[in-house]
């Protein structure tokens, strides 16, 4: 008997011109799991996430959310599935022309037609959850530090209380202390919402903190998938090289463009 997974990715292939980025990516994420996909730069982590979100169309393979197909689905069905998802983008992707609270409330006001007066208290509550007060709410994103922008982006991702949360390199560009603060906030938010989470990162400290399971992506394939507690004795030479940050090993760094 096959159980319905929260997210199911099967044999996904994606190329850009002659460059093959995903080469048969397959994994399942059960409800309530926090999966972190690790891997070097350019291994296809972001592309995997964008394919799951339906922002990119794979050439081959299937992606399902709650048993419903995202790949090949009509636009309305993709939009309905996306309503279950909150996403924290690598650079925050906050809207420059809107204030902080308008950014956080966006999924409610524009996405779900909620009145601004109703949405503002929700936005302030979510901002408080990530440690930001009302004074910040009236500022514009350009007036915030990188760490504060990440917090606002996290508040925006959780504003509509989604079932699924995606985090794209949540700690990139942050100092170690702020990175740890963001990791704690992510772990707490996922727990509070009871959400299923998929994160991509090459920051092992972040992975250890927010993952229940880890998958390693290399050359467009998942080469290892297991519980976070097994990461240091995975028996996989790719994982060992990546976790210990060694230059020598089976992963060869590409020094010039293909």
């Amino acid at each position: 008997m096959s159980t319905i997974q929260k997210i199911r990715v099967q044999d996904v292939h994606k190329s850009f011109g002659k460059k093959r980025v995903l080469n048969g990516v397959t994994f399942d994420v059960p409800a309530g799991e926090s999966l972190v996909i690790i891997g070097g730069s350019g291994t296809g982590k972001s592309v995997t996430l964008k394919c799951i979100l339906g922002l990119m169309k794979p050439e081959q393979g299937t992606i399902e959310i709650d048993g419903e197909a995202m790949t090949g689905a009509p636009k309305a069905q993709r939009a309905a599935l996306r309503r279950k998802i909150g996403m924290l983008f690598q650079g925050g992707a906050l809207f420059d022309s809107l204030t902080v609270w308008e950014n956080v409330a966006f999924a409610l006001t524009e996405g779900r037609g909620k009145a601004r007066a109703e949405a503002k208290p929700v936005a302030l509550e979510k901002l408080a959850m990530v440690g930001l007060d009302e004074q910040v709410a009236a500022l514009y994103p350009s007036e915030l530090s990188g760490g504060m922008q990440k917090r606002v982006a996290l508040a925006r991702a959780i504003a509509a209380s989604p079932d699924i949360l995606f985090f794209d390199e949540p700690t990139t560009g942050l100092d170690p202390i702020m990175a740890d603060v963001i990791n704690d906030l992510i772990a707490a938010s996922v727990k509070r919402l009871g959400a299923t989470a998929v994160s991509i990162t090459h920051d092992m400290a972040s992975a250890r903190k927010i993952a229940t399971n880890i998958a390693m992506l290399h050359e467009g394939r998942i080469v290892w998938h297991g519980p976070v507690g097994d990461i240091d004795h995975s028996g996989n030479e790719y994982v060992d090289q990546f976790v210990h940050g060694r230059a020598e090993g089976p992963i060869k760094m590409q020094v010039r463009a293909l």
Binding site: L53, L55, R82, M87, F89, A93, D96, E110, G111, G113
Partner: protein
């Protein structure tokens, strides 16, 4: 020789493909104009940006165009003792051609570039992807308000340009060429027909559509990085300007060839 012909053929096919992509983009944008949800706040903001904030540049262009037109007409027509025709030449030239064409070219420079740069930056910083994940269709939220605003506002701008342009001609004729003011105004109104003004306003609406579509298309499909946004901005202004001049010929033929 074969390679040379192949490169010409390849370039031509690319050109046809790009026309197809723009046509498809425009068709999608226009189909969203009548389908909810609508974003009136965005529309009002664009009416302000494209309309009110373009008034100074359109007004300045119009007044100098009218003044130069009066001066040049006088230089030419006084040789045939037809200087009295200046009033009618100025008003017909301004309302039929110079108001809509020069006004629209100036707006293409100001607004076409601004739209492409803004949407291009949003593409590069993943803000357009973020809209998708926040259950908001970027086509409806970003493109439709700009297109509708440009179609509404361009005729109004051109109407203002017509009045200011005629006033420019009046200033030069009365204060520099020593025409009688009352006679000048009488001749202006005597030879002006409703069709002259209406044709210019219809042209302006079509040009507004072209400016917004080209700005949105190039910005929406901007390539990565600062260079990508720069290229998108340049392409938006150049393509909109060429389309305006191209369409002006056919619209003029449609209205006035009998």
């Amino acid at each position: 020789m074969a390679r040379f012909l192949a490169s010409i053929g390849g370039g031509f096919l690319d050109f046809l493909a790009s026309i197809g992509r723009v046509g498809s983009f425009a068709g999608t944008a226009l189909s969203h104009v009548v389908r909810p949800p609508f974003y009136p706040r965005q529309l009002l903001q664009q009416l302000w940006q494209i309309g009110w904030l373009s008034l100074p540049v359109v007004g300045l262009t119009a007044i100098f165009t009218g003044m130069v037109l009066a001066l040049q007409s006088y230089t030419g027509f006084s040789r045939f003792e037809a200087a009295n025709a200046i009033a009618s030449i100025v008003v017909i030239s301004i309302t039929r051609e110079l108001g809509p064409v020069i006004g629209s070219l100036m707006v293409a420079g100001r607004i076409g570039a601004a739209i492409a740069a803004e949407l291009g930056t949003m593409r590069v910083t993943e803000q357009i992807d973020a809209l998708d994940t926040l259950a908001t269709d970027p086509m409806k939220y970003l493109v439709v308000p700009r297109v509708v605003a440009a179609v509404i506002v361009l005729p109004l701008l051109v109407l203002v340009a017509d009045v200011i342009g005629v006033f420019g001609g009046y200033l030069v004729s009365v204060y520099a060429l020593e025409f009688n003011g009352a006679n000048y105004l009488q001749r202006t109104l005597q030879y002006l027909e409703t069709e002259d003004v209406v044709s210019g306003l219809v042209k302006a609406s079509v040009f507004g559509l072209m400016i917004a579509i080209m700005g949105c298309y190039h910005g929406y499909n901007s390539q990565r990085g600062a260079a990508g946004v720069g290229t998108a901005t340049t392409n938006a202004v150049v393509s909109a300007s060429i389309l305006i001049l191209f369409a002006n010929f056919f619209l003029t033929q449609l209205f006035f060839s009998r």
